[in-house]
């Protein structure tokens, strides 16, 4: 019990969404384990991952719900959208159909999350340049038109994977600082944890009271 229950000051909830086989779980795995899963079976329902990161000197625990892309899970996975502070929406740059479905994913996300939810568009598999089916420019335009952040990334090489997860967290943290994100709202997807100094103060107080009572 060296670090105590909270060695971070915030929890941010993320969801990862997008068509089947675009590499959502591989992105999660690359981010949490820094490894590429070459043989990645279809996710059942939802998979869960966490990692503690640092933004502006604050430790933040990311609680990431990676949803299955298969259609038969879609009705229930929608219940995981609620209270997400960040949504990573993924398509595969080598399969145009996964890009064409983005508006449907975006509609779901907008309907089921709150206005302050940060949506980050990821064009995965950018290591497969030879098989490219969606240009960077058109995806960038789609992102700009819809107010989304955007990168092309590769879960295989790790390129831009950290950036996508961390940039999302920075944007959420900025919203908190600006007061645009209400920490007390149940659906904000952010929990604030008592910081270490606060806990120390508490135990000091108890110590103080005890001393007073000893007379």
């Amino acid at each position: 019990m060296s670090a105590g229950p909270y060695n971070y000051s915030y929890i941010f909830k993320y969801i990862i969404i997008g068509d089947m086989g675009v590499g959502k779980s591989c992105l999660l795995h690359q981010f949490t384990e820094k490894k590429f899963m070459s043989d990645c079976p279809h996710t059942i329902g939802v998979e869960f991952g966490t990692r503690i990161i640092e933004v502006a000197g604050q430790k933040i625990k990311l609680q990431i719900w990676d949803t299955a892309g298969q259609e038969r899970f879609r009705a229930v996975t929608r219940s995981y959208y609620r209270g997400a502070a960040g949504a990573l929406m993924v398509y595969d740059i080598t399969r145009r159909s996964t890009y064409n479905h983005l508006s449907s994913w975006l509609t779901d996300t907008r309907n089921l999350t709150n206005p302050s939810t940060v949506i980050f568009l990821i064009g995965n598999k950018c290591d497969l340049e030879g098989q490219r089916d969606v240009t960077y420019e058109e995806a960038k335009q789609f992102a700009d038109e819809n107010g989304l952040m955007f990168v092309e990334a590769s879960a295989k090489t790790g390129q831009n994977v950290e950036e996508a997860f961390l940039e999302t967290a920075r944007k959420i943290y900025q919203s908190i600082q600006d007061g645009r994100l209400d920490l007390n709202a149940a659906e904000s997807g952010v929990q604030h944890k008592p910081s270490q100094p606060g806990r120390n103060t508490l135990s000091n107080d108890q110590q103080f009271n005890k001393d007073n009572c000893a007379c």
């Binding site: 059942i44 229930v76 219940s79």
Partner: protein
């Protein structure tokens, strides 16, 4: 702190899938999809009775609908772990891994279940320790009262 064994289904979601299932049940034409969606919500309920019902529905699906068996095994493991039937839960995990060894999602679930068992084992000990302390305190109090009387 949420994970796959502690997160709970929003009440209105559970109701929505319960309604869909019951409508089909009334017509005596339940699709595996409706039954699975309802069962998946049930095993994520905060009430053990719901979870048990979810397990029952998943077992039925497992026997009758071969196509979705890996999904049913996975949620049978989760449901059992959530009502602390860890041995049963690990049995389903092992059945899954016999078919798909190296499935990282299921290996992660196994780790989560074992961590929870360890934690509760320790907590059990902590409770026992607390009882010992309480008895010690009671004995101490008794002695001090006796001392005062004398």
């Amino acid at each position: 702190m949420d994970d796959v064994l502690t997160e709970t289904v929003p009440a209105e979601e559970l109701k929505k899938f319960e309604k869909a299932y019951h409508e089909q049940l009334y017509k005596q034409d339940v699709t595996p999809k409706a039954q699975f969606e309802y069962a998946w919500c049930l095993v994520r309920s905060k009430y053990p009775a719901d979870i048990k019902k979810g397990i029952f529905l998943l077992q039925e699906l497992f026997r009758t609908h071969e196509e979705g068996q890996r999904d049913y095994l996975y949620y049978l493991a989760i449901g059992n772990a959530r009502i602390k039937q860890y041995t049963e839960a690990l049995k389903y995990v092992r059945s899954f891994l016999n078919i798909e060894p190296g499935n990282s999602q299921v290996i992660a679930l196994e780790t989560t279940i074992k961590a929870k068992m360890d934690k509760e084992g320790l907590m059990g000990m902590a409770v026992a320790g607390g009882v010992v302390l309480a008895i010690g305190a009671a004995v101490g109090l008794g002695i001090s009262i006796l001392n005062k009387k004398s």
